[in-house]
Symmetry: C2
Subunit: 388 residues, 2 copies
């Protein structure tokens, strides 16, 4: 495997993220951000653990108007949080359903409420409230002076543009994913149950240095597959199948997200044509993805090629998205999204179409937007549908 | 690998879950449950996909007072949802930030609001709101007649007690996890970076038939480890280390969750003693875990043994929890939890203690509560700290 980048980030990088957020907060008159989702807590603190998979305990990070963020977290996370740049770490013995951080939040927020200050909470598109809703409602009701604004725009604008260190991690995991896909013709074969194809792919990605393969979906069927988010069945690969695998593998908490298509034994003409259209749609996307282009324009550049075979728009809802600490991030390559591309955004290009007898085909690459054009992070898919 | 159970569940099982929920809803005067989290949507529909890892799109399942649940989901999920027992599937082209299911929810809920009916939403302990908070607030504000109750108790009481088919899946993945742990002495060795130990463990669990290893944490250090939720470092295992691995591996959407400790080269006396105390604490837990026992009593049974070495209560906050579709589920073995154990609850017993120079040790088994006592789902840990 290729030399891995350094894990984690410099303290200067966390300081820079925090200062940029504080600048945007000041412009909106906000005295703090109350964050509680994995990516946001990690982005500003460096706190990185799979323990978020347990839904039991809430975790909070408060970004004040000045200074370092403050962690309000279960005691079980204190040792790990102390390894980050965060200094003010306030803990309680969680779980404690009657007071899971509520008293500590009250202590922190009461002075702000008394001053009729405003804080930001993530309330917008692609966000969730990762604390019990009843606790949130109780907290807000107990702080009538506190103004709650939607902080989605602030966090979104920061996270969409990646630092060189983030791009290094993303390039590393995209390289690992590319090697795992290169191995598919060596381990997948007619007669292999799709479930075993998935298991072999995960093992292959780990072998090439992935920390984990949290996302792997796909499908296989005669002349094409019919959905793109399923877990695998025990059905064996047959001659004439089109097989698709789509992975979100991770390294140091950063995702790749791309897919590859393969024909088993031979490829039918319609599937070859669909593949060619999607390959050229991705080319059109790569040509269009430059600083100043909007996501809508990027969507249209790909859609105009896809329309050669499918002008209905399809079921996927968009033709790619941002990529980073999460499998999918803002923005969306869709008609509704007028986000202007900037240098160092990392994106997926994900043209898809419906064809034939209820079939769907997807094609995906991972790119970084450069000053003069895109750089591919995934190894470009073969120009013709590969046959295994 | 051992013969795997059948994937999925019978339609009769989904019907039974729904009817039991409807009985509890009727007792609370609720006309529906609005569910939006992965485990709840899957529990009542059978909709199973890793696509939830994308935060972009909300998904809704509405359990009405009578009849089958109604799915309100992004179009990308329609093909997969049509494979379940759900018939009423309402979709929109998501993402659509200005109307991500809101109109469809309004159509469904307006008649209930007009009738001043009540619905349940998951608002309690261990729950999150998996839709944008701003969308939720807008929806509720537009339906002033609708009463919103907390449905946590209803869903919790159903999900805590497992069906025979659920127990079969849990036994299968616990068996796979046990085989992966048995292999640790064959692949882990002095000089191996912890990161490679983790990668090898994941590959081993897949080899034995795990679908995935979404959760793997642990630690290693001289005479003991210091935190139990960290990702692995590049530090190589050294003679005198205590190594702990804790896995949540999955099969067909069900988790095992247990850990194992190993000494590298030799085990120091204090670590051996800590291990012995935790082994006996788990024995005490197994003896106590019967129908009619409360989680508090189960906690006390383990804590009374742990107190031989550590009477401070530790940082973990509880000594085990429920297990099933999530890595951790209700209840908690803790002083605050007076849940009465019932036959067919699947639980972890997870005694832990602090010892020596800031070290922590954890020990974990997975059990099912039977009429006459517990059945172990994990292969019991060795009675003495194993030395590799």
């Amino acid at each position: 495997m290729s030399e891995a980048p350094t894990r984690g980030f410099t303290r200067a990088e966390y300081a820079r993220r925090t200062e940029l957020a504080q600048g945007l907060m000041a412009a909106q008159g906000l005295s703090g951000l109350l964050l509680m989702t994995e990516a946001e807590v990690r982005y500003f603190s460096g706190f990185h653990t799979l323990f978020w998979q347990s839904p039991t305990r809430p975790w909070f990070l408060f970004v004040p108007a000045q200074g370092k963020p403050i962690a309000i977290i279960p005691e079980i996370g204190a040792a790990l949080m102390r390894q980050t740049w965060i200094e003010d770490i306030r803990t309680w013995s969680a779980p404690q359903p009657k007071d899971d951080g509520q008293s500590l939040l009250m202590d922190l927020l009461s002075p702000l409420a008394n001053a009729n200050a405003g804080i930001g909470v993530m309330k917008g598109h692609e966000t969730t409230l990762r604390m019990p809703l009843a606790d949130y409602e109780q907290l807000i009701a107990a702080l009538p002076g506190l103004r709650i604004a939607d902080a989605t725009g602030i966090v979104r604008s920061l996270r969409m543009v990646k630092s060189p260190a983030e791009i290094g991690k993303l390039a590393h995991i995209c390289g690992i994913g590319s090697k795992a896909f290169e191995a598919v013709p060596r381990f997948a074969h007619e007669g292999m149950p799709l479930e075993e194809v998935f298991r072999a792919f995960r093992r292959e990605a780990l072998l090439h240095g992935a920390d984990d393969v949290p996302y792997l979906v796909g499908g296989a069927g005669q002349g094409g597959y019919q959905d793109v988010i399923s877990p695998p069945s025990r059905r064996a690969l047959c001659k004439g199948d089109v097989l698709m695998l789509d992975t979100g593998s991770t390294w140091d908490g950063y995702f790749c997200d791309f897919d590859r298509n393969f024909a088993i034994g031979h490829a039918d003409d319609l599937s070859r044509r669909a593949y060619d259209v999607l390959f050229r749609a991705a080319e059109a996307g790569m040509a269009a993805a430059r600083p100043g282009t909007t996501c809508r324009e990027l969507f249209q550049a790909m859609q105009s090629v896809i329309a050669e075979l499918d002008d209905q728009g399809g079921d996927v809802g968009r033709l790619g998205h941002g990529l980073g600490m999460q499998l999918t991030e803002w923005p969306s390559h869709a008609a509704f999204d007028d986000t202007v591309l900037e240098e160092n955004m990392v994106l997926t290009l994900e043209p898809s179409l419906s064809y034939g007898d209820g079939h769907i085909m997807v094609h995906e690459e991972n790119i970084v937007v450069g000053a003069k054009g895109v750089e591919l992070l995934s190894t470009r898919a073969a120009p013709e549908l590969p046959v295994i």
